[in-house]
């Protein structure tokens, strides 16, 4: 949670003059919308990352469980799919 006041900084490239002012009501509304959108995107990203982690974990578990395959083949399969087998290989 930000504690600083919402201030807008503007630097005029022609004059070099820098000014600081409070956000306008319109800018405040946009700021709130940006925050909501960012939170939604963060949650979506976390869900996507959790899903991908679960998929990779399941894949790693499945590869590790292929006991009919030689260990070298399981490791090669893990590297090829980008997962880490339980025990650190992959």
């Amino acid at each position: 949670m930000d504690t600083e006041p919402p201030i807008a900084i503007e630097i005029n490239c022609e004059t070099g003059v820098e000014t600081a002012r409070p956000l306008t009501a319109e800018e405040q509304v946009q700021r709130n919308a940006d925050m909501s959108r960012a939170e939604a995107e963060r949650q979506a990203k976390e869900q996507q990352e959790a899903l991908e982690l679960a998929e990779r974990t399941a894949l790693a578990t499945w590869i590790a469980g292929q006991s009919t395959l030689p260990e070298a083949a399981r490791n090669a399969l893990a590297r090829a799919t980008g997962v880490t087998l339980p025990g650190g290989t992959g």
Binding site: D2, E4, I9, I11, C13
Partner: protein, 503 residues
């Protein structure tokens, strides 16, 4: 009345009674007797019986006395023609009119006394006697006294230098007496430098006396330039308008550039309005930057408003990237407000380092003279996350016409990452760089490319996230402003810096 009563009427039909009036008595009735009685008063007498004679025995006539006049006969008028009023004279007072009182007033003067009322006594209270003093004789003490003064005598002689003396004579001087004096004499001669002297003459000088003096000199020596001062030995004196001959002026010599000063040997003086010929002026030569100093050889001089022709102003060239420093060979000058074109260089258009937290940073009024813009941001966000995005909007446009690797129809673009408050190291920062090509063209959408990254470890073991992303703004307008915000919507913290470079 003497007849019988009623005789005219024959019977008693006439007068039947008589009544007495004033001074009349009636006696009897049938034949009444009527008698008159008269008595003489003061100044009046009565005589006779049948015929009474009344005579005045008092005042028969009035005669006017002194100062009185009488007029009229029956009614007399008596008038006073004598003294009718009194007027007081000097020292006299008059009071009353019918019986006026005339009084005299007398006052005593100096040395006079007055006494008495009915008979006044006037007495001398002043000088009553006289006594002769020194050198004066008096014939008596009172009454007619003769006072005789001392006799007159002939005064003695008086001379200049005599001492004052009271004298011992018993005679006196008349008011027109005359003392014998010393005689007048002829004054001696006086000359310049004579010594003051009291003199010993027993004669005196007349008020119009005159001393003979030395004569005026006639031979006046001439002064020369450089002549020596001398008191002189002449016994003659100089007249007020005397004049020494002086050397005449002569034409001064001409000056030349670099003339040296000299006392000169001329016997002629310089007049106040003398003028030396000077070298003439000539047109100044041209002067240019880099000229070597030179004494010059001209025999002419420069006027105070002379002017050297100078090199002209030139247009500065453009500064190019990688150019080496050079002194240049131009023969023209640069004006103080000259500007070199830097269109081919990367130029810092704006830069800021936040001194306090800010929600946004905007570069406005971006010059439209460059080809490429480069936005660089480094810093931290206040958001409670390990990292977050640095977002960009062009020209304040918040509509959903931005596309990049994070999605389409966005309302902004990523310029990079910055570190959030949840990162392990509080001094760690993230960075983002965005390039925008042809930001002034109005044909295509604006295309940009961003790279960036930030540490994102919440523990002490370093980890990071990086990004590269193409972005576009579906708008053909030239970019005139760029606004940076934090993706999470929070603030940039103090110390975060942002720079805009044009090239």
């Amino acid at each position: 009345m003497s007849g019988p009563l009623g005789t005219s009427g024959g019977g008693a039909a006439g007068v039947t009674s008589v009544t007495a009036g004033n001074g009349i008595t009636v006696t009897g009735t049938t034949t009444p007797t009527i008698a008159a009685s008269i008595a003489a008063g003061t100044g009046v007498s009565i005589a006779g019986t049948t015929t009474l004679t009344v005579s005045a025995t008092g005042v028969n006539s009035v005669s006017a006395g002194t100062g009185i006049s009488v007029s009229g006969t029956t009614a007399l008028t008596v008038s006073a023609t004598g003294v009718q009023s009194l007027t007081a004279g000097n020292g006299i007072t008059v009071s009353g009119t019918t019986t006026p009182t005339v009084s005299a007033s007398l006052a005593a003067g100096t040395g006079i006394g007055i006494s008495g009322t009915t008979t006044l006594s006037v007495s001398n209270t002043g000088v009553t006697s006289i006594v002769a003093g020194t050198n004066v004789s008096v014939s008596g003490a009172t009454g007619a006294v003769t006072v005789n003064a001392p006799a007159f005598a002939t005064p003695g002689s008086s001379a200049v230098g005599d001492s004052a003396a009271a004298g011992t004579a018993t005679t006196v001087a008349r008011s027109d007496h005359t003392h014998g004096r010393e005689a007048f004499a002829t004054p001696g001669a006086s000359a310049v430098a004579d010594t003051a002297s009291a003199g010993s003459a027993t004669t005196v000088a007349r008020s119009d006396h005159r001393h003979s003096r030395e004569a005026f000199g006639t031979t006046i020596t001439a002064s020369t330039i450089g002549g020596t001062a001398a008191a002189g030995t002449s016994t003659g004196v100089a007249r007020e308008d005397h004049k020494h001959a002086f050397p005449a002026g002569a034409a001064p010599s001409a000056l030349t550039v670099s003339s040296t000063q000299a006392t000169g040997t001329s016997a002629s003086p310089a007049l106040a309005d003398h003028v030396h010929a000077m070298p003439g002026s000539a047109t100044a030569g041209a002067s240019a930057v880099g000229d070597t100093a030179a004494t010059g050889t001209a025999t002419t001089v420069a006027l105070s408003d002379h002017r050297h022709s100078r090199e002209a102003f030139g247009t500065p060239g453009a500064v190019t990237g990688g150019a080496t420093a050079a002194s240049g060979s131009a023969t023209t000058l640069a004006r103080s407000d000259h500007v070199h074109s830097t269109a081919s260089l990367g130029v810092l258009l704006a830069s800021t380092t936040l001194s306090s937290a800010a929600a946004s940073i905007t570069f406005s009024s971006i010059p439209q003279t460059y080809k490429t813009l480069q936005v660089v941001v480094q810093g931290r966000a206040a958001a409670a996350t390990t990292l977050t995005g640095v977002m960009v909007r062009f020209n304040g446009d918040t509509s959903a016409i931005y596309d990049n690797g994070y999605g389409a129809n966005r309302t902004d673009l990523h310029a990079g990452f910055i570190t959030g408050a949840s990162t392990f190291w509080s001094a760690a920062t993230g960075i983002g760089i965005m390039f925008i090509q042809d930001y002034t063209q109005t044909i295509f959408y604006k295309s940009c490319f961003s790279i960036g990254g930030s540490s994102n470890n919440s523990g002490s073991t370093y980890s990071h996230s990086g990004m590269t992303s193409h972005g576009q703004w579906r708008n053909t307008a030239a970019i005139t402003s760029i606004t940076l915000t934090v993706e999470s919507g929070g603030n940039f913290v103090s110390g975060t810096s942002a720079t805009l470079v044009g090239s």
